[in-house]
């Protein structure tokens, strides 16, 4: 066999490097995928224990309004594991925060991309990005020392509750929604702007009727991202919501969310007990909700891809 044939038949160095690289990335992929699968498996198996081992009915868990797992309710003869107040609390702060944050976020983003000159936008960009990175405990502390007393002064009561939670979450998710909206608006092709102006649109008409319309899927995705963040936020909310697992009857009475009950309770219960299992069930709801948010984002993204 001559030298060349031999050389061709041997695995070359670049092929080996190629295989090595492939191996590394596949290993990383498997690792991450298995972590996700394990988390889901673990949470769901523990979460379901409430219903299988402790025989709590799903209806009671989802729609019961009495949350007090360590005390047996005299009327029903079951421990109070009705999670509806928490679900409602979580939903309320999430949707209210998104509702308030969205117009501000869109306004800021439009200002940054369409109105401000280049220098103004250059200053705003890092400010927004910085806000995304502030740890949630800092938001919580500010909420507790500024927002809660203000709410108390205006509405009376303790100042703790859904309103305070909403305000803190609003500030937290505002930069998330804003920066994603900015990216979306920047992605709207320049020729849309030019041709809108070229047929006699005013600047405002161009923004409203072309840019925002073209960017709607992206903006919706940004809002859902913000909502996912708000829904999963534990610390800051827990600090200002009051942590009373009552059915919320006003925006300024102490309430609780799934996350706040979880962080408060998980360290104080014994593994395997009903009180512990039911917290896992809450975690399961959170996990499923974040899955829903994810699917929603995918769905919106796909609808937004122009056919």
């Amino acid at each position: 066999m001559d030298l060349i044939t031999e050389k061709i038949k041997k695995t070359s160095l670049s092929t080996k490097q190629d295989r090595f690289g492939k191996l590394i990335s596949i290993t990383a992929l498997i690792l991450i995928a298995s972590v996700v699968v394990l988390i889901f498996g673990f949470v769901i198996s523990r979460g379901l224990a409430t219903f299988t081992t402790n025989k709590v009915s799903l209806g009671h868990f989802l729609f019961g309004t009495d949350w007090n797992p360590s005390v047996v309710n005299k009327k029903t003869g079951q421990p109070g594991v009705g999670a509806l107040p928490l679900i409602v609390g979580s939903m309320a702060v999430t949707f209210l925060a998104a509702l308030v944050a969205t117009p501000f976020a869109i306004g800021t983003a439009v200002f940054m991309t369409e109105v401000a000159n280049k220098r103004g936008a250059k200053i705003m960009q890092p400010v927004i990005e910085l806000l995304v990175g502030i740890p949630s405990v800092v938001y919580g502390v500010i909420g507790l020392t500024v927002v809660v007393p203000t709410v108390r002064a205006i509405f009376g009561g303790t100042g703790l509750g859904i309103l305070s939670g909403t305000i803190v979450l609003f500030v937290m998710i505002l930069p998330t929604i804003t920066s994603m909206t900015v990216d979306t608006l920047k992605g709207v092709p320049r020729h849309y702007r030019e041709s809108a102006l070229a047929i006699g649109a005013t600047r405002w008409q161009m923004i409203q009727k072309v840019i925002l319309r073209a960017a709607t899927p992206g903006i919706l995705t940004a809002i859902v991202f913000g909502m996912a963040r708000a829904f999963g936020e534990a610390l800051a909310v827990q600090m200002v919501i009051g942590n009373a697992a009552n059915m919320p009857n006003s925006l300024v009475s102490a309430s609780a969310t799934l996350t706040s009950v979880l962080t408060m309770g998980i360290g104080n219960t014994v593994m395997g007990s009903l009180q512990n299992n039911v917290l896992w069930s809450l975690a399961m709801i959170l996990l499923l909700m974040s899955l829903v948010f994810n699917i929603l984002i995918r769905f919106i993204g796909r609808k937004g891809e122009l056919k």
Binding site: N117, P189, H191, Y192, R193, E194, S195, A196, L197, A198, I199, G200, A201, T202, Q205, K209, V210, R213, A214, L306, K307
Partner: protein, 255 residues
């Protein structure tokens, strides 16, 4: 073309600066009320820059200065009192890239009218149909008006873009290399469309294709390095150019 064709736009001594760099060195050009004027010249000769000055598209940039007189039907385009929104309704523009908005075909064509506040469905329907017919694309899209315009082919998209401009009934149509991003068949269709429009509209077309200029234009102006070298009747200019540069360019010696 008739001889008594009136002038719709008269420009004198048009100069334009990008920052400190003078890109147009004083252009004098007139455009008749009907018919097609082609602006030809090599890349960087300033023909597109000049075209975009005519409906103040340069206003979007910060560091561009335009001077000179622009008399559009007795109105000074760059007068401080001129409303750019109104102006651009009168002077429509079609771009190189076919660029319908990501809406339905109907919404695209109705866009300009809706901006102007037209809400009456019957009026909109009629205008959409007429504009699409004028852009010779009605037959192809009449059954899919509610489908996204982005689903059309490049040539169809460009004709929808033209229809969108026509819907606002401009007096003057600026076309910035409208066929250079299209395949030859689509380009041919666009040319046919323009030929059908030339009795009704004044059109100024920037083109890199000399054959296109000779096929469809009534008058031609040759640009070189920010100057307008020669202008005149298209046939005359192509057969018997007065300037050496023009002769060199149209015979393919450079550019």
């Amino acid at each position: 073309m008739t001889k008594e064709n009136k002038t719709i736009l008269e420009t004198r001594n048009v100069k334009l600066w990008y920052g400190n760099k003078e890109a147009l060195h004083g252009i004098d050009l007139d455009f008749p009320e009907k018919g097609i004027t082609a602006l030809i010249g090599p890349s960087g000769s300033g023909k597109s820059t000049y075209l975009r000055a005519l409906n103040r598209m340069h206003d979007l940039e910060d560091n561009i200065t335009v001077t000179g007189s622009f008399n559009f039907k007795g109105q000074d385009i760059y007068a401080p009192t001129t409303d750019t929104v109104d102006l651009r309704k009168k002077i429509g523009m079609v771009f190189q890239q076919p660029n319908p908005f990501p809406f339905s075909i109907y919404d695209n064509v109705a866009f300009g009218l809706r901006l102007a506040g037209v809400k009456d469905k019957a009026v909109l329907d009629k205008a959409v149909e007429e504009s699409l017919k004028a852009a010779s694309i009605w037959e192809e899209v009449k059954d899919s008006l509610n489908k996204s315009a982005l689903g059309l082919s490049g040539g169809q998209q460009q004709r929808v873009s033209i229809a969108r401009v026509l819907a606002t009934q401009p007096d003057l149509l600026l076309l910035d290399e409208p066929t250079s991003a299209l395949d030859p068949v689509s380009a041919h269709n666009i040319e046919e469309t323009l030929l059908e429009l030339r009795d009704k509209y004044a059109m100024i077309i920037v083109t890199h294709s000399l054959s296109q200029a000779s096929r469809i234009s009534d008058r031609t102006a040759f640009f070189l390095n920010g100057d307008m070298v020669e202008t005149g009747d298209t046939r005359k200019l192509f057969i018997d150019p007065k300037k050496q540069e023009t002769a060199d360019y149209i015979s393919g010696r450079f550019g």
